[in-house]
Amino acid sequence: MYAFANPMKFAALARRIAPWGYGLAALLLVSGLYFGLVKSPADYQQGDTVRIMYVHVPAAWLALMCYSSMAIASIAGFVFKHPLADMAAKATAPIGAVFTALALVTGSLWGKPMWGTWWAWDARMTSVLVLLFMYLGYMSIWRAIPDQARAAKLAAIMAIVGFVNIPIIKFSVDWWNSLHQPASILRADGPSIDPSMLLPLGLMGLGYTVLYVALLLTCLRTEILERQYNRLGASKASNAGSSLVERGA
């Protein structure tokens, strides 16, 4: 875990790995879309509208996965003071927010033709909207507090406390009557999706995940370099200041 705790070493590694990540993600997403939009059959009930699933469901998975990684990274940062953990949590937030927004928008586009409404205040949709607001709130803590060490602490507390929402989102469809249907993949008696539809869904899920990792590497590298730049800039400025003082004296 501490092997790449040296930020500059990690940044160099991230630079080498990230392009491969983008390549692999593109490969997975293109083949996933091909199987999803062209090769897979229409649903017996929903017809071609079911194809929205291949974009919507993985986005919702990643929305939950990103938040969970953010919470884990926050624990590593807050409790164990791992130097990269806070940065990883910070870099994950905007990516997770985008996946959450994508899940909400595609869900809305799917809801109109199938359910007959763009939006309903049922437990699943409301809790996912809350998740989006939590991502935005988390990001604004980082922006609102200039002292990065203090911002990291407060943001970590928020991320970990907010993790309560993740099981609520997952089980909202089982605990309460809701418009949204229950889970199709992670369920006790096995997936209730035909294998021909499971393949593109799996490819897309894998593609989204690899894309997240690649984006995270790029964002982390940027964050590391930015901090390094600020530190160098600050020391230069203070050097300049002290030399001025010396000259004045």
Binding site: P41, A42, D43, Y44, Q45, Q46, V50, M53, I75, F78, V79, F80, K81, P113, M114, W115, G116, T117, A120, W121, D122, A123, I157, I160, V161, F163, V164, I168, W175, W176, N177, S178, L179, Q181, P182, A183, S184, R187, S192, I193, D194, S196, M197
Partner: protein, 150 residues
């Protein structure tokens, strides 16, 4: 206690407190978080609701009377395993609406126990399969439509 232990205890207790607090709130709000009543839940209410309600259930087979030139009202009944409620609706039904399908209606309960709906939403279940597979299952008699809601 080391600093690291203190920090973990702080985080764990903060998280524990939040779980308890949120758990209590959600339990207290249980009824209002549910998106709809089912017909048997509606029957159990001691005071009949005079505000707008949502009711969910399966469309009873053979209960649907389509709109005609003289009467624009669509009449059908929805049921759970225990009870049945009659619905009247004027408007456009979602594509998935059909007998045996899970639907959610929103409207007011009239004095004679009929719900005058202003909106009908279709639910679909969590099974996805191609039409051929669905037909094959029906042929083999292994078809279970509408296992929800209870």
């Amino acid at each position: 206690m080391t600093k690291k232990q203190k920090r973990s205890v702080f985080m764990a207790s903060l998280f524990g407190l939040t779980v308890v607090a949120i758990g209590l709130v959600l339990t207290a709000l249980n009824q209002s978080i549910s998106y709809f009543y089912t017909p048997s839940e509606l029957n159990k209410l001691t005071q009949s609701p005079d505000n707008i309600i949502r009711l969910g259930g399966l469309v009873v087979t053979g209960s649907v009377t389509k709109a005609s030139a003289r009467d624009a009202t669509i009449r059908f009944a929805i049921a759970d395993k225990l009870a049945e409620t009659r619905i009247e609706f004027e408007g456009i039904l979602p594509d998935l609406f059909r007998e045996g399908q899970g639907v959610i209606v929103q409207g007011r309960l009239s004095d004679n126990g009929i719900v005058i709906a202003t909106e009908v939403l279709a639910k679909h279940d969590e099974t996805y399969m191609p039409r051929e597979v669905a037909d094959a299952l029906k042929k083999q008699g292994r078809w279970q439509e509408g296992s929800e809601p209870e």
